[in-house]
Amino acid sequence: MAQLTCQDLSLGYEGREILGHLSFSVQAGDYLCIVGENGSGKTTLMKTILGLHAPLRGQIITGDGLKQNEIGYLPQQTPVQRDFPASVREIVLSGCQGRCGLRPFYTRAEKRLAADNMEKLGLSPLAGRCYRELSGGQQQRVLLARALCATQKLLLLDEPVSGLDPKVTAELYQLIADLNARDGITVIMISHDISAALRYASHILHIGDRVFFGARDEYPKSGLFRPKGA
């Protein structure tokens, strides 16, 4: 059974539809890239999958025993206030909150997980720093480490590389590909970087006036994909 199935989904705000009749499914271990123009509804789709936003019609079915607290999420923009005092360590650790349930404190294993994820993303030297005093790219990595703490199964990333330098971008793509290949975490990523999408993803979902969903190799044949310069 698929890990995530969207059936005839219509998305929109206050009854105004921005995207209709969307159907696709994601198997465990897939790497799905969602592409499309600005304003086509990618973020809205992700929020709907996460249950932050109600669909107008249609339904989302989770399978393989996927629970809400096994999903990791990297938002496109975090509405963190400018003056919020929070250290990097506190934020990364808060990614483990979903698995705590009613338990009030973090276990030693969860603290280790947070430390490991900070290490993976090169955040260990920044652990005690204040989040709001970091650069945009560093903040992005903190939020990614938090997302990694939240999941063993499904990772939803909304433009994870925006604002990162080319070196960190390449490392991040590699890291996500590793998580997908080695740890078997399903990845759903929104990106404007089509060449990277074609390189790393197993499936592509293109949304907009015309919708495409299929394996990566089918995408160039769909006519929606225009290589640069063409």
Binding site: N69, G72, P75, P85, E90, I91, S94, E133
Partner: protein
């Protein structure tokens, strides 16, 4: 003046007042950080006016134990306001404003129409500004305050990580399976309890100061949630004790004195923060 202070400290009602004051200060400052960061300062203010209205109703009804009415009413309003705030921002703001001025007006009207004593403006003033109510608590009220504040502090300690998660990024918390609604409810109830308690200490108009100043002061100097929480708790307890002792020794109104000390500390912390950044 020092001898006078020592003399006063022998009296049990002064000792009770100090204990209760410390606990209330602790409660309010712990929640204050969340209140400020969640942009709920306004809710705190609105709720304190609701508590004033309920207090007026309780005294008109000549209830022997006013807290029995004030607490449930305030908790209920806190829950309702939170609901309203979740739907849309603007409506939430407006409903707080309506509730807050409405409760203030009705409370004053009630006290005027059915005066309990001959000195109506004195009664109103003591409910609004606390004046000496912390020194005139009955034994039962002291126990109620102690139990409620200890419960609040324990709840805060137990829910600390969850409160951080829903305060820092509520949508992430919700998306990854934290029951944000439940914890928002917990926060709202704790705020309501804290406000009813703090009314005894500083009166309903000055509660916001008690809640906001320590948190804002701590945020000038510290950069992590834990440090800010601890610092604001310590600061609030110190300022409250200072303020109460000064008030007792110099016979000034307790609430206003505490707030004045809080303000002085805030100025000090601002200066320290500016010095450090320079």
């Amino acid at each position: 003046m020092f001898a006078k202070l020592l003399l006063y400290l022998q009296y049990p009602f002064v000792q009770y007042a100090l204990i209760v004051g410390t606990l209330i200060a602790l409660c309010s400052s712990l929640l204050g950080v969340t209140l400020v960061l969640k942009r709920f300062s306004f809710i705190g203010d609105g709720l304190s006016h609701v508590a004033f209205g309920a207090m007026a109703a309780a005294s008109v009804l000549r209830l022997s134990d006013s807290m029995a009415l004030v607490l449930p009413v305030t908790v209920l309003c806190a829950v309702l306001l939170l609901r309203a705030g979740q739907n849309t921002r603007i409506q939430g703001d407006a409903s707080i404003a309506i509730l807050s001025v409405g409760a203030l007006a009705i409370g004053y009207l009630l006290m005027h129409l059915y005066p309990v004593s001959s000195n109506v403006s004195g009664d109103v003033c003591s409910t609004l500004f606390g004046s000496t109510s912390i020194l005139t608590l009955t034994r039962g009220e002291v126990w109620a305050c102690v139990i409620l504040s200890v419960l609040s502090i324990a709840a805060f300690a137990l829910f600390y990580h969850k409160i951080f998660a829903v305060t820092f990024d509520e949508s992430f918390a919700r998306a990854t399976g934290t029951d944000a609604r439940l914890y928002n409810l917990v926060i709202a109830v704790m705020i309501a309890v804290m406000i009813v308690l703090a009314m005894n200490l500083v009166g309903s108009l000055l509660i916001s100061a008690l809640v906001i100043f320590p948190a804002l002061s701590a945020m000038r100097l510290f950069r992590s949630f834990r440090a800010v929480t601890i610092c604001s708790a310590c600061l609030s307890v110190c300022c409250t004790l200072c303020g109460m002792l000064t008030a007792v020794a110099a016979s000034t109104p307790v609430g206003a004195t505490i707030v004045a000390v809080d303000m002085a500390a805030f100025a000090l912390f601002c200066a320290a923060g500016a010095l450090r950044d320079a």
